[in-house]
Symmetry: C2
Subunit: 730 residues, 2 copies
Amino acid sequence: MRALLASLVLLAAVARADEGMWMPQQIPDLAPRLAELGFKGDAKAFADLTGQPMGAVVSLGGCSASFVSADGLIATNHHCVVGALQVNSTPERNLLEDGFVARSRAEELWAGPGSRVLVTTSVRDVTEAITGRIDPKLSDAERGRLLERRVKERTAACEKKPGIRCTVASFFEGARWYELAQLELQDVRLAFAPPGNVGNFGGETDNWMWPRHAGDFSLYRAYVSKDGKPAPYAKENVPYRPAHHLAVSPKGAAEGQLVFVAGYPGRTQRLRTLREVTEQMEWSYPRTVRRNREMLQLLDALSKDSKETKIRVSARVRGLANSMKNREGVVEGASRGGLLQVKAAEEQALVAWIAADPKRQAEYGAALPALDRIQAEKERTRERDATFEALAQGSGLFDAARTLARLAEERPKKDLDREPEFQAREWPRLKEKLERLEKTYDPKADRALLRYALIEAAALPQGQRIAPLDEAVGLAAGAPAEESARRIDAFLDRLYAGTKLQEKATRLGLLDATPKALAARHDAFLDLFAALRPFERQLEDARYAREGARSRVAPVYARALLAKAGGLVAPDANRTLRVTYGVVKGVSPRDGLVYLPQTRLAGAVAKHRKGDAEFEIPAPVLEAMRAQIARRAGPYVDAKLGDVPVDFLSSVDTTGGNSGSAVLNDQGELVGLLFDGTYETIASDFLFDREATRSIQVDSRYLLWFLSDVAKATNLLDELGARVGTAVAP
Amino acid sequence: MRALLASLVLLAAVARADEGMWMPQQIPDLAPRLAELGFKGDAKAFADLTGQPMGAVVSLGGCSASFVSADGLIATNHHCVVGALQVNSTPERNLLEDGFVARSRAEELWAGPGSRVLVTTSVRDVTEAITGRIDPKLSDAERGRLLERRVKERTAACEKKPGIRCTVASFFEGARWYELAQLELQDVRLAFAPPGNVGNFGGETDNWMWPRHAGDFSLYRAYVSKDGKPAPYAKENVPYRPAHHLAVSPKGAAEGQLVFVAGYPGRTQRLRTLREVTEQMEWSYPRTVRRNREMLQLLDALSKDSKETKIRVSARVRGLANSMKNREGVVEGASRGGLLQVKAAEEQALVAWIAADPKRQAEYGAALPALDRIQAEKERTRERDATFEALAQGSGLFDAARTLARLAEERPKKDLDREPEFQAREWPRLKEKLERLEKTYDPKADRALLRYALIEAAALPQGQRIAPLDEAVGLAAGAPAEESARRIDAFLDRLYAGTKLQEKATRLGLLDATPKALAARHDAFLDLFAALRPFERQLEDARYAREGARSRVAPVYARALLAKAGGLVAPDANRTLRVTYGVVKGVSPRDGLVYLPQTRLAGAVAKHRKGDAEFEIPAPVLEAMRAQIARRAGPYVDAKLGDVPVDFLSSVDTTGGNSGSAVLNDQGELVGLLFDGTYETIASDFLFDREATRSIQVDSRYLLWFLSDVAKATNLLDELGARVGTAVAP
């Protein structure tokens, strides 16, 4: 009876999801909880970034990934290699549609400029170096600039080692700072990607949705120079041999199984104040949803007229649609889950906890009111500030002008004096951006989006005007909308007629130009940005002042939160390496409905619709699936499902940036790749929901089955040690 | 071990749904199966239409219902009393929106013209009387007319008894004929209806969907003259005292429970041939979907311009949308379930079974080829025939003209010589239709829909033209569409300018007019129909010939099917009284997804959205729900759910017409009201899916909770014997 009781208690504890995108070094402290969940391994292993399994976990910059062979093969999501597929596609050979299989290493395709693999090799606490000994008499803006300078200095010192990329990042609202060093491999090649309607099966319709049937997997390979050093792409480079790689499990994931996810989650905002979150929910997110919807309508209309335009804006369309659906999901989930009410109650409890003790009151009491004041000041000009930012976001030419002008301004300075965005370490990325515009620039779309932003600028209220823009275009507060639109159109006629920035040679030729040389060109876009630059500088000053002010009190607020919680707390995600754990399991997202934890090939076939751009499975894949379903047996069949599993749900705590993350079983084997979260849990970026949160992963068996039965990629299966009938290499 | 095995076998048998909308007299033969499912009652009771429980089951004509008190209270769906709510609504008092509760019998509201309650009192086999001794030399058309005449004769003889309405209906494709006698109660009054956003909660969005949270219940009461006889509405009438009524169970339905549904399912087509079903799937249903969508767009555009129009076309819009969603669901479900492939295999097996035995071949061999020929002949002119029918369906004025002209033509005949549609027994209904037009006629909508039909007529191919229409409008095969449209518009100008049929007094004044009197009016619509009448007569002749031909072979085909099945088979639904049984249970409608069998108040509250026309729960209801959810206890709380249950799924076999049907537990108590099927099972009208079929019912506890906690209708609860704390009257 006592044993039964104990196991019941355990079950109740296990049943709920645990919050936390943990720093690897925090995992050893979680050992008791992991043991409770049945973990028999050594939790300390996760803290060793150069050991197994963490040594195999990498970043692609925006996506996560992991080494899966001794010869540098890397598993990630299909949606993380879309850029590589785009770069290597031609009108005759559409890799986005058809996928790609390298039958030998010689066939592997360079992933293109900007592609890289980052292997975190060390994490050091630099809190004292960043925040120690600051003159209390500094102004807010001076304080902000000092912190930034210290970050730049540490970064530069860390990057002295060749082939190393460093990040100094704030944790717990600036209460802690860590320096992360990453080995940067620059020659990345595509080894395998499934057809688009496997990797992205279900498209926008299924995005964030369950049940899901996407084969969102692909394989890269990292290359280095012959002497084993990171090097730019060169034909004669050789495969990188990582110290560690993960075994791809042919057993996949089963319901109830404990899994770990190691990767690079982007941003969460769970430690933000009520007032900050309220702005996101009630102003910023709804605004993004509205703007993205309107911009998508503009791009959709233009795409209908031109296939060329459609291709050029496809990545942007996908980005706008994705963030729109995300924001909508967050706002909806927040409203459903009563996010603001919960936040309000939590904040009230914190205030009461602080007030209950004079010592606490003295230490923490001023922080929250100060944060609220800073936020209120920010909100005063938010329409104007967001509208100004939208200019560069909307127009590739405006962004190019800004990049060239800012580079010209910053280049003469010492590197440590430059704005971080324009330090020498960023120059290759900036150059690549100016190159990439060649593929994504569409004159009609560029102009339509810039026009959209200008119409917004024209409608700004008195007191939030962008004066130099008003002057350049001829706008004024309160002017009739039609009159403004007419002036904007006339201005855009002049603007696009008076620029040469749409020419790649021009853009690249100006990369090293001086401000004077730029001015002498009388390029309309460069002139426009020059006119706006003093205004942008004001915004920068305000931002430094805000960040300086925030850095005085936000860490105090975070320390109060941590002290009140009284135990282990995971910091908000900030694009650094994290580990989360959870259990493979379904969920009831709504009354009367249950999501089962796994899907299977038969479900993919049931969704197949001939002629449907999102749901038409390519004929050979469909045929192989049908044959497999009929067979009901084979090395990748899940006995319980009687079919090859496709995707699965787990209660791990992840967010954007975790895409491509290795999902590990308690043996440290790769059992899946994380690629999404369910729509119901998007709001977890703000408030973790222990009942409803679910991430979506593709099962390793689907990858292996696809390589075996569809791609017939025996070379890759052999390398993964996963060829049918052979044992998996440890 | 043996016992375990036996129970496993039993479980497997129980797990699947049983096909069959059974005739009550078939139920005793199902006793062994019912015992297997745990039924401990007497299956023979279902065959006694004048006993308990069947004596309590009634039809509302199009909907099903049941007596639930000794004083004639009737439980049915909210969506079955919409007409009564409409008739009794005023601009000041919108019952559709607010619902209605009669606090005393004096407050009960007449349900309006056309409302009636039909109690089936006997079912007699009249196969010999209808199909016996037919001269084999009759032509197909003569045979068709003879069968119709015999049906009319039997009906007339049966209806000699006062207050009795009779139906002579074909079963098993005309292999059997039954005469059903029904007591017709004409004074029906509304006792209770919930607000629209309870009864129809979720609107079109949730229609056919699960999870569902509709409180689709309402209460009528039947009245009779003081001497207990059926009588038209009169204030001094008294409540009807049915011989039997159902106890409304305060225990509702639980997962795994055996339930019976008794009601009047409309039409299924499971015994149809492959070729007949193929036409439905590939031509008729897709055509309806396309046409309804286009007509809805027309009506939607007109409704945007005018609130008046919106109200007038609301019932039609709902009808078009509902049948569109139904047809789409059938086609989608049929495609997903491989309906045509299954049908083809079944038909092939039947042909092989027949061919395997010379005696069978001699008896059945000719039937299927003959049916295929009849169907092929029908398909030859289907575009034309369907387009002609659409004229009256589209335009209320055209339909009125047709009704008046046909009445004038038929009235001089002896009643038995009249077309069934225009026999004396139908006159009140026809008059009501002409009266009702006053509420639904909208000149713009009427013209738009007639124009839509005429555009279709203009596009008919050579060889399928409607010659008198071509002549009247000036259309010709192959004419340019723009030219046709111009002529149609000019014709419509003349048509609507030249009619007075939009005036109620004119329509009703012509109810007794002679053909000559109608012609003398020179009303444009009457003249148009007169010009088309000879053509319509040709269509009628073709229909009689087809039905005559079919009546020779369809019964043979059905007998072959029955002989091959070798056991009990339920006939297709034909609007007569049926009983079906099943189990309360969930289902997995798609890979990765499970529908739980029950929903609850908390799920309704979670769907509530302020400002959403379909999902805004009225404030007092919402408040009561929230209080109940917080309380977690009370007489109607389901212990397992910890909440008041709302709707539930069961595997009973039902279709349109079953709406409002009593759902009985094995004690014969009412545990719910059936109101819908799930979208995934709509195709069951053609092929029953033993795995996926689910009907949707509202739990009796939601009704009782609503009457108690929201409506505070103690008078009704007392009458139901279900007032909190009191025992339920047996």
